[in-house]
């Protein structure tokens, strides 16, 4: 069947959103003088609240994201006040003079909605709503002092919400829980028995902080982050489709970047400029190269992974529910990359960039055509040095491509993509985009702070992590804003951010809800540690550690598990029968357990109790409780391979092993 609309929209009911603080700049156009004055007296923005549901239901089909008949957009209060081609449509407090209210009356001319009469109760509801509507000053976020430590700000703001909402947080986690959790989050694997024991025996009161510092300095941590961001940047579906000749360089780049704690703005720059200056940077080009000149895919991927925004739907029309994402933004993003071209150089695959062209014409659903510009989500338009270039000439380049690029190709002649060097234009659109990431662009820091938060806490401050738009407000807007600002002013230091989150109180809570909490509080309060399903990578390494292998990394195991357990940053945990059947009946998993060093070792233990303790510590990183010991004793038989294997199977397939808690 034809798949026509690449839309990816979710609309949440206003009532399902606990807090909605949204500030959108108002363009002071077409406002009545009084309102304009009101807005200009110290008010740059108005607080929005939500537009009335009757308007959403009846008007936005023609006056919304897909169409804006008469230039009128009724998705937000601001845009309704701003009005359309003729005048403002909404005057807060004055329904009788609001065009919006006038046209819905019986016998009004023009009449709205066309061919339809709204029922009297809806008209009354709108009248009341407009009468009570007030322009209030923007709900300015009051941020804590910039000099505070991130850990303190996290503790303060998350617990403030608990107090405000009368939520009892869980108790702090015990050391055994913490040591497993921190290894999984920072190294992507469970601790070995020796690692866990050494932590438990340590009596230093600062041992948790010390462990966080130690683990974040390790090569394994860099390797773990490299694999996480490999999937973030290229996603599993994409990775599956590709043959990975050059993926080693790409992973090497990521490992090097995380190992050296390369500032995040540098990483962003490496990826989008893709003109490596050193050997270590070489692999960064792969991010764009692997999109095989699909500029639309580059644009949407850059938007999702670096700016936290899904922009696909804006290819054909403005975003239906997040008005700040417009069709011109999509085409603007594409324009930053549509002069790019994959080439091969003696130094490896590279992305050349032309110095001219790349002016797309695009049309909305009403057929209104527009011209793409280098426009950012902030609505800033980047001027092109030297103006519009339509003819490619050598003088536009600092490193020029071969002559063949500039002439018309003969019949059957192909453009030579094997080049002695990488052509670089004097004005590079990719370079311009890279500069924009850190130039008064709050999205860039917000997106990575939110993603790291989600990686550590199991859910983003904005959830899901790649829908950071006005339809998805943050659960803790002040915290996200403060952390993003702090991240910017401290050199985009990822390691510092990760350490501070790991040392915070919400991160170190137990996962059992407080006994007084009744029903577990909503996940968005972070009032207990949320269950985090192990990624295929973490599951693979943890299985290797649990099963007694020296080396945690095993490519074959990881690739096999990535097919069965593909999720990373999933919106919901949704296990499938395919997964449980794989674990129960799959020969692969059976063999993995049966032939493991662990099983051989366990068969040498003679005491049933010692055996039980050994298995619990190895697999679940904790001691069994008396009830568990009792059940285990009735099942396990020392030196009996079959019973030991089945016991190990049962623990490996428990939710306790499957989840990081």
């Amino acid at each position: 069947m034809i798949r026509i609309f690449p839309c990816y929209t979710r609309r949440e009911k206003a009532s399902s959103i606990p807090i909605r603080i949204q500030t959108i700049p108002v363009k002071p156009l077409l406002l009545t003088p009084i309102l304009t004055a009101a807005l200009l007296i110290g008010l740059v923005t108005v607080s929005t609240g939500q537009i009335h549901p009757v308007i959403i239901d009846n008007c936005t089909k023609c006056h919304g994201g897909v169409k804006q008949k008469g230039g009128l957009d009724l998705r937000t209060i601001e845009s309704a006040i701003e009005g359309g081609d003729t005048d403002t449509s909404l005057i807060p407090g004055d329904p009788e003079n609001s065009l919006l209210y006038q046209v819905i009356q019986v016998d009004s001319d023009p009449h709205m909605p066309p061919k339809k009469q709204l029922p009297p109760e809806e008209i009354t509801a709108l009248k009341t709503w407009i009468t009570d509507l007030k322009i209030t000053p923007p709900a300015e976020l009051v941020l804590p002092d910039p000099g505070m430590t991130p850990t303190k700000v996290i503790n303060d703001l998350v617990s403030k919400k608990w107090r405000d909402e009368h939520i009892a947080p869980a108790r702090p986690s015990d050391d055994a829980t913490f040591v497993r959790r921190i290894h999984l989050d920072l190294l992507g694997r469970i601790p070995t028995v020796a690692e866990a024991q050494s932590f438990l025996r340590n009596s230093d009161p600062k041992k948790r902080n010390l462990l966080v510092d130690q683990l974040t300095n390790s090569d394994e941590h860099a390797d773990h982050l490299a694999h996480v961001f490999n999937v973030v940047f290229l996603d599993r579906a994409h990775l599956r489709k590709r043959n990975h000749d050059h993926r080693k360089l790409w992973l090497d780049y990521l490992r090097w970047a995380f190992k050296t704690n390369r500032p995040w703005d540098q990483i962003g720059r490496d990826l989008v400029v893709a003109r490596p200056k050193s050997d270590q940077e070489r692999g960064a080009s792969w991010f764009i190269y692997d999109q095989l000149d699909d500029h639309s895919q580059i644009a949407t991927r850059v938007s999702r992974t670096l700016l936290g925004k899904q922009v696909q739907c804006a290819q054909c029309h403005d975003h239906p529910v997040a008005p700040e994402i417009e069709q011109r933004h999509y085409w603007g993003l594409v324009a930053f990359f549509n002069r790019s071209l994959n080439v091969k150089t003696p130094h490896g695959p590279r992305i050349a960039e032309r110095a001219s062209g790349g002016y797309d014409k695009f049309a909305n659903l009403e057929g209104k055509a527009d011209q793409s510009q280098l426009i950012l989500y902030s609505n800033e338009i980047i001027p092109e040095t030297g103006g519009k270039q339509t003819k490619d000439t050598a003088d536009l380049y600092s490193v020029a491509p071969p002559e063949q690029w500039f002439r018309k190709l003969k019949k059957d002649e192909k453009l030579k993509k094997d080049l002695p060097n990488l052509p670089v234009p004097k004005f590079s659109r990719r370079e311009a985009f890279a500069r924009s990431l850190t130039n008064e662009n709050p999205d860039f820091a917000r997106a990575i702070v939110n993603r790291i938060w989600a990686l550590m806490l199991g859910r983003g401050l904005v959830h899901p992590v790649d829908l950071m738009d006005s339809a998805h407000p943050a659960s803790h807007p002040e915290l996200l804003a403060w952390l993003a600002r702090d991240f910017e002013t401290n050199g985009y230091n990822l390691r510092r951010l990760i350490r501070n989150i790991a040392k915070s109180k919400p991160y170190q809570l137990d996962s059992r809800p407080a006994p007084s909490a009744g029903q577990p509080p909503l996940d968005s309060y972070f009032a207990r540690a949320l269950d985090k399903p192990l990624s295929a990578e973490a599951l693979s390494r943890s299985l290797r550690v649990a099963l007694g292998h020296e080396k945690a990394n095993d490519k074959d195991l990881r690739n096999q598990l990535a097919k069965i357990f593909p999720d990373l940053f999933a919106e919901n945990f949704s296990p499938t029968v395919q997964q449980t059947m794989f674990l129960t009946n799959g020969p692969f998993f059976d063999k993995l357990v049966a032939e493991s060093p662990l099983l051989a070792r366990l068969q040498t233990i003679e005491s049933p109790l010692a055996l039980i303790h050994e298995i619990f510590q190895t697999i679940l990183s904790r001691e069994p409780d008396p009830g568990e010991i009792k059940h285990s004793l009735s099942f396990l038989k020392p030196k009996d391979k079959s019973s030991i294997q089945q016991f190990v199977w049962a623990l490996l397939t428990t939710p306790e092993f499957r989840l990081n808690h």
Binding site: I4, D531, T576, F582, N585
Partner: protein, 440 residues
């Protein structure tokens, strides 16, 4: 149990008994919730036995099918589109010309032309028409399939009580919905078993290296540890994980029933080559085997913002044939009286045709069709105005629809859910009345 390998264990018969005893110990203890022996001999059992014979197949037309190209054509008007209408077996009732086979069995179908709902975006609409009620956070209402699985399903059934046949993993908003919480407050055990992509269930056979007793014993042990974790932490993730394991044994015993290859080719040819038709056929065979609820989905193809007529020219005849075959086959097998077939989406499509020759989302006035299970064949309920822009007669919303479905299947639509620590919820809220005209 095959002869024990002397190299691997002691070989004592005690060894075998030992595991069995372990299983018995467990079932007498904390995790005996699966026991249904208590139901026998009680008056409630007769009621359950009566209900267990009912089945439901939902042909889920995700994206929002157009009423104009199906059940409520408006020929020769500005909104009608290029297709004509044709008379049906019911005098005075016309369907779109794209539904000739359904027209020939209109006396077996009940058509509602006056659906009037409020949700006009997919996520909202899918939730509304799958759950029968607008969201009320933080509570998540179970979907129709989960309620039917609970009400019609049997605790010891070999087939899953809620089967979702879903060949296309995609579907924009529907994809998001699929990843979410189907079973709501009923708990993960009532979420669907989804079979999609392939026509077979992989890893469905027990390994040669493990005996049946050991297979069961280790799963019982897994469940003991798993439930303990789930209960200690009130963990919904653990609950889903455990519930997914609960399915394994049932699915192993019936995996062959999901294999399309076992169905005679002639039968398969009747349903056409498409995945939607083949899965509708599979749904029929699963109902024949006793499955209470099967939902057939196929991505989100009915969302025709662009080229509505061209897409529907392909899609509707397929649907026409599927409804026709399904109704006929169920009737031939004596199952139609106990099987409710529903064909619907989350809303209809606009009367006006947009610049891309598409129709957009339209919840104000749309249509759906049902057959079987005591539904009044030939009934056509409700009407819309000349342009299909408004319901002029008997408007019904999602609550009326759910009340109708539950009533037809012998379930009290106004019964309360039995939930601890929750507000009182009913199968259908607000005492909403079923659509009486189509319940015979």
């Amino acid at each position: 149990m095959p002869a024990p390998d002397p190299a691997q264990n002691c070989g004592s018969p005690d060894h075998n008994i030992h595991r069995r005893r372990f299983l018995q110990g467990l079932s007498a203890g904390a995790i005996s919730s699966m026991s249904f022996a208590g139901l026998f001999g009680s008056p409630a059992f007769a009621e359950i036995a009566k209900k267990k014979q009912k089945h439901c197949i939902l042909l889920w037309l995700c994206g929002g099918p157009s009423q104009f190209e199906t059940w409520d054509p408006k020929p020769n008007t500005t909104v009608g589109g290029p297709f004509k209408s044709i008379p049906t077996k019911i005098p005075g009732t016309h369907f779109s010309e794209l539904l000739p086979k359904c027209a020939s069995i209109a006396d077996k179908l009940a058509v509602v032309r006056s659906m009037h709902t409020k949700a006009k975006e997919h996520t909202e609409g899918i939730n509304l028409l799958q759950r029968g009620h607008a969201p009320r956070p933080p509570f998540t209402r179970p979907t129709m399939g989960s309620v039917l699985a609970q009400q019609l399903g049997q605790l010891d059934s070999k087939l899953p009580n809620f089967i979702l046949l879903d060949p296309c993993p995609e579907g924009n908003e529907f994809k998001g919905f699929k990843a979410g919480n189907w079973a709501g407050w009923l708990g993960a055990e009532y979420s669907p078993v989804r079979v999609g992509g392939e026509f077979k269930i992989p890893d469905a056979n027990r390994l040669d290296s493990i005996t049946e007793d050991d297979h069961e014993a280790r799963e019982a042990l897994r469940k003991f540890f798993g439930k303990k974790y789930e209960n200690d932490r009130k963990s919904s993730a653990a609950s889903s994980w455990n519930a997914t394991f609960e399915r394994v044994n049932g699915l192993m015993s019936c995996a062959h029933l999901f294999d399309l290859e076992r169905i005679p080719q002639a039968d398969r040819d009747h349903y056409g080559p498409g995945a939607f038709g083949q899965h509708a056929l599979l749904a029929r065979t699963l109902v024949e085997e006793g499955a209470p609820f099967v939902m057939v989905a196929n991505g989100m193809p009915w969302d025709t913002h662009v080229f509505n007529h061209e897409v529907y020219q392909m899609a509707v005849p397929d649907l026409d044939n599927i409804i026709f075959q399904l109704t006929k086959d169920l009737e031939d097998r004596g199952l139609l009286d106990d099987t409710l077939v529903i064909a619907m989406g989350e809303f209809g499509r606009t009367p006006w045709i947009n610049q891309a020759r598409g129709r957009d989302h339209f919840p104000d006035a749309w249509s759906l069709a049902m057959a079987g299970c005591g539904v009044q064949g030939g009934a056509v309920v409700g009407a819309t105005d000349k342009y299909g822009a408004e319901v002029t007669e008997d408007p019904f919303n999602e609550e009326n629809l759910f009340a109708t479905i539950f009533t037809a299947l012998g379930i009290d639509p106004h019964a309360e859910f039995k939930l601890d620590g929750f507000p009182t919820f009913h199968h259908v809220e607000n005492k909403a009345a079923p659509i009486k005209q189509i319940l015979s």
